[in-house]
C-alpha cells in the first residue's frame, strides 16, 4: 500500500509547528517526543504503521479549533483519531501529520430523556453512552463489536454498525446533530436535538466521511427505551444454501429480528474449540434474536421455528432463559478471539444482497482454495454484511500478500453481485485502492467535490478513502 512521500518542508519545521500547538493547548496536551508519538503509529489495522510528527489531545471544542487554525495556517495535515480501533486504517498517521485525538473529550453534556437524546463530547466511548442513560431505561442502539473501546467520534466518522442494525439502523440513523470544527478552525453546529434540519442534509454527508470533512467534537445522539426482553434461537443446517434460504424466508414472513447471525463450518468449529458453547456439528448455523414483550417474543420465535422446520434443520434450540441465551451467544461473541487463537487473520466486511449469499459463500470457498488459504465466515445475515475472516501466517513469507490478494478478490465479488466494499468498517487506507471497482470516475469525482468544499486545501486525513491517483492533482494544489 502506497502513501504519499512526507513533505520535507513540514518535517523540517517540526519545532515551529510544535511551538504553535503548545501556544493553543495546555502543556500536557501536546506530545512531540518520538518515543511517545509511537503509541499513535497505527490503529487496529496494525499491518500499517507510521509515527506522526506530533499528537495533540485537546479537551474542548475551542482547543480543537485552536489546533486546526494553527495547522491550517502552517499547512500541516491533520489525522483525526477517536479510540484508534479502526480496522481499515482510518486513523493511520503520515510522518508529516499532527494526530488530533479526542480521547480526553468524554463528557456527557446533557441528557434529555423526555426528548430522547443525549448530548456528548465525541471522545466518549460507545458503551459508556448507553452507560450514561441506562439508569432511566434507555440505550444507544448502534453496537459495533468494539463498543467497549471505540469512540462516538470514530463511530460517526465510519458510520459504524453492529449486530442490531436490521432493526435499529446504523450510526447515521441514530445521529441527530454534531458540533464540528472545519480545517480552518470554524466551529459549526449541524442539526441538534430535534428530528430534522432545514436545507441540504450536511449531517448525512458528514456521517461516514472518515475524517475527510472536519473534526466532530460533540454529538446529539438519539436514545431509545430498552426493550422489555430479548431471546435468541439457534438453528443448525447441513448446507449454507439452506441456511441462506431460511434467512430470506424469515424476512419474507414479516418477522423483523433484531439480529440474524450466520456462521459457516470453519467458523463454527473454531468457536467450538475455543469457547465450547455446545454448538451442533453442522455446515451452517443461524442465531436469530427477537425482542419485545414476552408475548411478542413467543409469537416471533414460534413463527421462526415453523419456518426453520420446513428446511429440515439439524438442530433448533430456542433459548428459555438468560443462561441459555448467554450460551447461544457465547460462541458467536468469541468468534474473533477464536480466530486469533488459530493464527493471523484479515477481517473483511463487504455487503451483498441477501439473495446472493449461497453463491458468494461457494465462490469464496473456491477463491480461497485457489490461494491455498482458509476462510471462515461469521456475519450479519439479515442485512447482508459479510465478515469473511482470511486466515494466514504472518511469519510465512508471502502469506500476507496472498491473503490481501484473496481479500481484494472477495471484495470484487461482493461488488459484482450488487453489493459494496464495506458495510461498516469504512474504506480507510485498506480499501482505498479498490474504490474504482465500485465507483466509476464521475461517481468518485462527485465525492471529491464534497471534500473540496469542506477542506479546500486537502489537509484532513490525507491519503484515505480515495485512490491516490484520483486525488493527486488536488493534493498537490
Amino acid at each position: 500500500m502506497d502513501m504519499p512521500v512526507p513533505d520535507p518542508a513540514i518535517l523540517a519545521r517540526k519545532d515551529r509547528i510544535v511551538a504553535a500547538l503548545r501556544a493553543v493547548l495546555p502543556g500536557d496536551a501536546v506530545i512531540a517526543d518520538p518515543a511517545e508519538t509511537r503509541a499513535y503509529e497505527c490503529d487496529a489495522l496494525t499491518a500499517y504503521r507510521c509515527p506522526p510528527l506530533a499528537v495533540v489531545l485537546p479537551r474542548t471544542t475551542e482547543e480543537v479549533a485552536g489546533v486546526l487554525r494553527a495547522c491550517h495556517a502552517l499547512r500541516v495535515p491533520v489525522v483525526p483519531r477517536g479510540s484508534g480501533t479502526s480496522l481499515a486504517g482510518g486513523a493511520l498517521p503520515t510522518a508529516d501529520c499532527v494526530v488530533l485525538g479526542v480521547a480526553r473529550m468524554t463528557a456527557v453534556l446533557e441528557t434529555g430523556y423526555a426528548d430522547r437524546f443525549v448530548h456528548v463530547q465525541a471522545g466518549r466511548t460507545n458503551l459508556s453512552v448507553t452507560g450514561a442513560v441506562e439508569g432511566e431505561g434507555f440505550f444507544y442502539a448502534p453496537d459495533p463489536s468494539s463498543q467497549l473501546a471505540c469512540a462516538i467520534a470514530g463511530n460517526i466518522a465510519m458510520n459504524s454498525g453492529g449486530a442490531h442494525c436490521l432493526k435499529y439502523g446504523v450510526t447515521t440513523n441514530n445521529l441527530l446533530g454534531v458540533t464540528m470544527v472545519l480545517m480552518d478552525g470554524t466551529v459549526v453546529q449541524v442539526g441538534g436535538p430535534w428530528m430534522d434540519a432545514p436545507g441540504l442534509d450536511l449531517l448525512g454527508v458528514i456521517c461516514g466521511s472518515e475524517g475527510q470533512l472536519g473534526v466532530v467534537t460533540e454529538a446529539w445522539l438519539r436514545i431509545l427505551p430498552k426493550p422489555e426482553g430479548a431471546r435468541p434461537v439457534l438453528i443448525g443446517f447441513d448446507s449454507n444454501e439452506v441456511a441462506g434460504k431460511c434467512v430470506s424466508d424469515i424476512i419474507r414472513a414479516g418477522v423483523l429480528p433484531v439480529a440474524i447471525e450466520f456462521m459457516d463450518r470453519p467458523a463454527i468449529e473454531a468457536c467450538e474449540r475455543f469457547a465450547r458453547a455446545g454448538y451442533p456439528d453442522c455446515e451452517a448455523l443461524l442465531i436469530v434474536e427477537v425482542e419485545g414483550s414476552a408475548a411478542a417474543i413467543d409469537h416471533q420465535l414460534g413463527l421462526i421455528a415453523q419456518i426453520a422446520r420446513r428446511h429440515d434443520p439439524v438442530e433448533l434450540r430456542e433459548s428459555r432463559s438468560a443462561e441459555e441465551s448467554m450460551r447461544i451467544w457465547l460462541g458467536r461473541k468469541s468468534a474473533f478471539g477464536a480466530m486469533g487463537k488459530m493464527g493471523d487473520y484479515i477481517c473483511l466486511d463487504g455487503t451483498i444482497p441477501v439473495s446472493a449469499l449461497p453463491h458468494v459463500l461457494r465462490r469464496i470457498g473456491e477463491l480461497a482454495d485457489g490461494y491455498g488459504l482458509r476462510v471462515a465466515n461469521v456475519f450479519h445475515a439479515g442485512d447482508g454484511n459479510m465478515h469473511p475472516l482470511i486466515l494466514f501466517d504472518a511469519n510465512r513469507p508471502g502469506d500476507l500478500d496472498r491473503a490481501e490478494a484473496l481479500g481484494a478478490d472477495i471484495l470484487r465479488l461482493c461488488v459484482e453481485v450488487g453489493g459494496c466494499l464495506t458495510g461498516e468498517h469504512g474504506v480507510g487506507v485498506e480499501k482505498r485502492d479498490l474504490m474504482a471497482v465500485q465507483f466509476d470516475a464521475p461517481d468518485l469525482e462527485a465525492q471529491l467535490r464534497v471534500k473540496d468544499v469542506f477542506d479546500p486545501d486537502w489537509l484532513l486525513n490525507p491519503a484515505k478513502v480515495f485512490p491516490l491517483d484520483a486525488t493527486a492533482g488536488r493534493r498537490a494544489a
Partner: protein, 360 residues
C-alpha cells in the same frame, strides 16, 4: 420560455442538462410544492420498478415511478416504506418523495425518508450521471451522497433512480387515545409513551385528542396497547381502538393543510413545543413526532420566527398566502450557508437547477 421537456431515459435527461442554456425547474408529480422558475423538466416518463427483492427487504425504482405503484408492489408482499410518506395526490412520484425527504408519523421510530434511502442515481447540473450507495442496507463505501440528495429539492441534481430498505408491514395496529389534554400535558403523555418499551410508532396531538399507535402481530398489539393505556393512566382514561385509526389523516394533514392562512412547520425538541405554540398565537396547530414537529396555521404575513424568539430549532413556512418579504426558509448561519452554496456551485456550476433557495 423553452418548451417543457419530459425525457424517457436517463441518457436523454443527461443530454438535456448538458445542452441546457437556461434554468430548469425539475418536477415530478408537482404535488410537493411549486418548482422554481425556468423551463419545466418533467421526470414522470422515467418509470418502472427495477428490482424488488422481498427476501432482502429492498426495492429500486426509477424516480418518476408513481408513489402509489411502489406502495402497491410492496403491499403485495406485506411490506411498506417505513417512513410513511404523506400522500399528496395521484401524481406523486417516488423521486419527489425523496427530493422532499417527505416523512410521516412513523418517522419518530423508523427515521425519515433519508434513513430508508440506500442508493441513488442522478444527473448533476453539468449533465453527468452519478451513482452513490446501492441496493444493500449496510454500505459505508465513500462519501454518502445518497443522504445529501434526500431533501435537496433538485438543487444538486435530477434523481433518476432511488433504492430503499423496506420493512414488513405490521399485521395489525391499534390506537390509544387520550382526550382533553392541553399541549403541555399532551407532550408529557407522548414522552411517557415514547419512552416506554411498548414500541409506539406514532405520537400525535390535535383537537380530537392525543393519539399513540402500537403496531405488530395481533396478540402482541392488544397486549401492549392495554399496558400502554395503563402507564398513561395519570393522564386520564384512554380509549383503545383497532384499525387504521386517525393516522392516514395525521400523515396527510387532512383538513388542515388547506386551511386559510400561512402554513408553517416547526422542528423543535418536543418539550419546547408547548411554549413555542403558546408564543406563536396560531389560528390552529397540530403536533406530530411526540411534539417534535408542529404544524401551525398563522394569520397571513405573520413572521412566526419573530414571535418565537430564541426557541432552539427552526421554523419553515410551507405555504404562504402572498409574497410578503418574510423568508420561507429559516436563516442558515453563514458558515453552513457557505458550505451549502459551495456544494451547489460544484454540483451545478452553471446554476441552472431549480435556482432559488433550497427548500426542505
Amino acid at each position: 420560455m423553452p418548451p417543457e421537456r419530459r425525457p424517457a431515459s436517463e441518457d436523454a435527461l443527461a443530454q438535456i442538462l448538458r445542452e441546457a442554456r437556461e434554468p430548469v425547474a425539475v418536477r415530478g408529480g408537482g404535488t410537493r410544492g411549486a418548482p422554481a422558475g425556468g423551463a419545466v423538466l418533467d421526470t414522470t416518463a422515467l418509470t418502472g420498478i427495477r428490482l424488488h427483492e422481498p427476501g432482502a427487504l429492498t426495492i429500486v425504482a426509477a424516480a418518476g415511478t408513481p408513489l402509489a405503484e411502489v406502495e402497491a408492489a410492496l403491499a403485495a408482499h406485506h411490506q411498506h416504506l417505513a417512513f410513511e410518506p404523506p400522500r399528496t395526490g395521484p401524481g406523486s412520484t417516488i423521486g419527489g418523495v425523496v427530493a422532499a425527504n417527505a416523512s410521516g408519523p412513523r418517522r419518530v421510530v423508523a427515521g425519515a425518508c433519508r434513513d430508508s434511502l440506500i442508493g441513488v442515481r442522478f444527473v448533476d447540473g453539468a449533465g453527468t450521471v452519478v451513482k452513490n450507495g446501492g441496493r444493500v442496507m449496510k454500505n459505508v463505501t465513500g462519501i454518502d451522497l445518497t443522504k445529501l440528495m434526500a431533501g435537496s429539492r433538485g438543487a444538486l441534481g435530477v434523481l433518476t433512480e432511488v433504492a430503499f430498505k423496506v420493512l414488513p408491514r405490521p399485521e395489525t395496529r391499534a390506537t390509544v387515545t387520550l382526550r382533553g389534554l392541553d399541549d403541555t400535558r399532551a407532550v408529557a403523555a407522548m414522552a411517557a409513551a415514547l419512552g416506554s418499551p411498548f414500541e409506539v410508532t406514532g405520537a400525535a396531538h390535535g383537537p380530537d385528542g392525543t393519539h399513540l399507535r402500537i403496531e405488530g402481530f395481533a396478540g402482541s398489539v392488544a397486549d401492549r396497547a392495554e399496558r400502554l393505556a395503563h402507564v398513561l393512566a395519570p393522564f386520564g382514561t384512554a380509549d383503545v381502538t383497532e384499525g387504521e385509526g386517525p393516522w392516514p389523516a395525521i400523515r396527510d394533514l387532512d383538513g388542515f393543510a388547506d386551511a386559510p392562512g400561512d402554513l408553517w412547520r416547526l422542528s423543535v425538541r418536543p418539550s419546547a413545543a408547548p411554549g413555542a405554540v403558546a408564543r406563536a398565537g396560531a389560528l390552529a396547530h397540530r403536533m406530530d413526532w411526540g411534539g417534535g414537529r408542529v404544524w401551525l396555521v398563522m394569520p397571513p404575513g405573520t413572521d412566526l420566527r419573530a414571535r418565537l424568539g430564541a426557541v432552539p430549532g427552526h421554523a419553515t413556512r410551507v405555504r404562504r398566502t402572498e409574497a410578503d418579504g418574510i423568508a420561507d426558509l429559516p436563516p442558515e448561519v453563514p458558515a453552513l450557508a457557505a458550505l451549502s452554496a459551495g456544494l451547489r456551485a460544484r454540483f451545478d456550476p452553471r446554476g441552472i437547477l431549480n435556482p432559488g433557495p433550497t427548500t426542505a
